[in-house]
């Protein structure tokens, strides 16, 4: 029933002589892998996704819109490891470029969510009072809506223009704001417990200003929470983006997004040419899986007080 907490980490780190930072980093990683193998596996998937996203244009064998009609709808082969789609485009390359879309949208949305949620959560939790009541009511209202429905309605509004960046921005902002609602609750909880912490009381006694307390005590501690939330939310964001693209309101073609590849075309060909749907689906599953596992492990490591599942 041993679980890991910060004491363990501190102890571990203290026992080793201080070396160059990158060696320390490696050691921490190794220790992490041994302690939390599942998390490490998740982290590995995440790393693969990130690497592919960043380097897609260099490592992808074809351009994402390289149409060779003669080779349409072919199964996996030597020239096309993942097969081709109905326009003769290489599936492997499209999946790689799709990682880029998922990652960019996911990270941006999570970043927005983090900023908004931190703002609301910290102010709500730290100051309490009327801010708290007001914000919490707003969050309540916001959280009552089924997220997918909200996404559809708002995104279909903003993507009326149809510009690639319009749509992408719309998706990012809307997802970010929606996710912020739930996160703000957690951050608020963390802020409340930090507020009641003895360090903070002491600081207040000696006359530290609110801003200083926030900067020195609250935010750094909340940071861990944010990181954990972020990893889990990345998974949710990728899943949400794929749902939106699946329904037709996502990233416009020809830019490949995993959800869009899975949408009517992938589903349509599922019978006869299953690989069109197989690879994007797997990519989504693995990416989301990776982020979630990593987040889980990080949570265990960084702050065992936080329950799993929230």
């Amino acid at each position: 029933m041993a679980s890991v907490d910060q004491a363990d980490i501190a102890e571990y780190l203290a026992l080793r002589p201080a070396r160059k930072p990158w060696v320390r980093l490696l050691r921490t990683l190794w220790w992490f892998t041994r302690r939390k193998p599942l998390g490490a596996l998740g982290g590995f998937f995440v790393l693969v996704v990130l690497l592919v996203a960043v380097s897609a244009q260099w490592i992808a064998p074809y351009w994402y819109d390289d149409q060779t009609w003669d080779e349409a709808l072919q199964g996996p082969s030597a020239t096309h490891l993942f097969g081709t789609d109905d326009l003769g485009r290489d599936m492997l390359s499209r999946v790689m470029y799709g990682a880029r879309v998922s990652v960019v949208i996911g990270f941006s949305a999570v970043a927005i969510s983090a900023v908004v949620a931190t703002f609301i959560g910290v102010i709500s939790g730290y100051y309490g009072g009327r801010f708290d009541t007001l914000f919490q009511r707003l969050v309540d209202i916001w959280m009552s809506f089924p997220p997918l429905v909200l996404l559809i309605v708002v995104v279909s509004t903003f993507s009326r223009g149809g510009d690639f960046w319009d749509r992408v921005m719309a998706i990012i902002i809307v997802m970010g704001v929606i996710m912020a609602a739930g996160s703000s609750r957690v951050i608020r909880g963390a802020a409340i417990s930090i507020k009641n912490n003895q360090y903070v009381e002491a600081a207040r006694c000696i006359g530290a200003s609110d801003a200083r307390i926030l900067a020195q005590h609250v935010l750094p501690n909340v940071f861990a929470v944010i990181i954990i939330l972020a990893t889990v939310q990345l998974g949710a964001a990728i899943l949400a983006e794929s749902s939106i693209s699946f329904l037709g309101w996502g990233v416009p073609p020809p830019f490949p997004s995993w959800g869009q590849m899975l949408s009517y075309k992938g589903i349509l060909f599922m019978r006869a040419h299953p690989w069109i749907a197989l690879w994007p689906g797997l990519a989504i599953a693995l990416a989301v899986y990776g982020f979630n596992m990593l987040g889980d492990a990080l949570r265990d490591v960084l702050d065992p007080r936080l329950r799993g599942g929230r």
Partner: protein, 316 residues
């Protein structure tokens, strides 16, 4: 205690009002020329004709007036008429809500049946293979896109065995066997979605509870593992878990939207998608309102239950 309950109840009112305002504004945001939509894609209208239709729909009044008109109708129980079929939305929903509800309830039951025992086991055997498998399984469930899963289930059995799910929906009271046969698969997929979260929650709660002093006392008394777990730990662990399930409702709705289309279940989710697609805003309005309202009420129930069971919360 009763002050808390009273305060909590009162808070529902502004929340609901906020919900209605938000729903109203959201729907007004929806794109497309409603006037054109009503008249049909083939119609070329003159400006007077457009104005006529606008007046008919009440779109020419200022927005806050439209809101109040709508609110007064809602409070009277009139959810408006579908723009497409002209049938009252309420009547249509009356047919569909039970279907989605049944789907949701089935999903929750299936999910609980799977995730509760596994969560408990994973907690008891923490850090063993079982734990790892259970946890990765749970996360895997969360990660698989439901529409992908749904399509696989429709396609692969047909490809391999020529099997197809039941052709169309039969009411539970009319033909329970066929009804369940049709709903069980989408319910299982939905349940799979839920069970990831629930299982991890269960596990975490069990772990938390197992660390408590009173459990330690039970151990030290020499009680068998099974007694400790079932008699002392589970009860306390499950309460927050069950309430978490209640909070999953918005996600449930999102899941049903796509799955209902794939499996041909005539529920609210599919109706919602169809209505968004056809800009039938009274329907979208009504459905979003009902779902949001249900969530608010569920939250209320959850909070009250929590307060009842855990005195610490009341004074937070």
């Amino acid at each position: 205690m009763s002050r808390y309950i009273l305060r909590r109840l009162i808070l529902v009112v502004p929340t609901m009002i906020g919900v209605t305002i938000l729903v109203f504004l959201l729907i007004r945001l929806m794109p497309g020329d409603l006037v054109q939509q009503i008249s049909g894609e083939n119609a070329i209208l003159t400006e007077e004709e457009r104005q006529e239709v606008r007046e008919e729909l009440g779109l020419d009044k200022p927005i806050y007036q439209q809101y109040f008109i709508w609110m007064s109708e809602i409070l009277r129980g009139d959810l408006g008429n579908s723009l497409q079929t002209k049938v009252a939305v309420g009547a249509e929903l009356k047919n569909r809500l039970p279907v989605t509800l049944e789907l949701g309830i089935l999903a929750i039951i299936l999910s609980l049946c799977v995730s509760l025992p596994i969560g408990v086991l994973a907690a008891i055997r923490q850090d063993t293979i079982l734990d790892y498998v259970a946890r990765s399984g749970a996360i895997a469930f969360l990660s698989i896109p439901s529409f992908w899963m749904g399509t696989l289930v429709v396609v692969l059995p047909s490809k391999w065995w020529g099997w197809a799910p039941p052709l169309y929906y039969k009411d539970l009271w009319v033909d329970p066997v066929d009804n369940l046969y049709m709903l069980i698969i989408p319910a299982a997929i939905l349940g799979m979605l839920l069970s990831g979260t629930v299982m991890r929650m269960t596990r975490a709660q069990m772990l938390e509870v197992l660390r408590q002093d009173y459990v330690r006392t039970a151990w030290s008394k020499g009680l068998r593992e099974r007694t400790v777990v079932t008699r002392h730990a589970i009860k306390n662990a499950f309460i927050p878990v069950v309430t978490i399930v209640g909070l999953q409702i918005p996600i449930l709705v999102g899941g049903t939207v796509i799955l209902e289309s794939i499996f041909g279940v005539p529920g609210v989710g599919r109706y919602l998608l169809f209505s968004i697609g056809s800009l039938d805003y009274p329907v979208v309005q009504a459905i979003v309102l009902i779902v949001a309202g249900a969530v608010v009420l569920t939250n209320l129930a959850v909070d009250l239950t929590y307060a009842y069971l855990d005195p610490r919360i009341r004074y937070a």
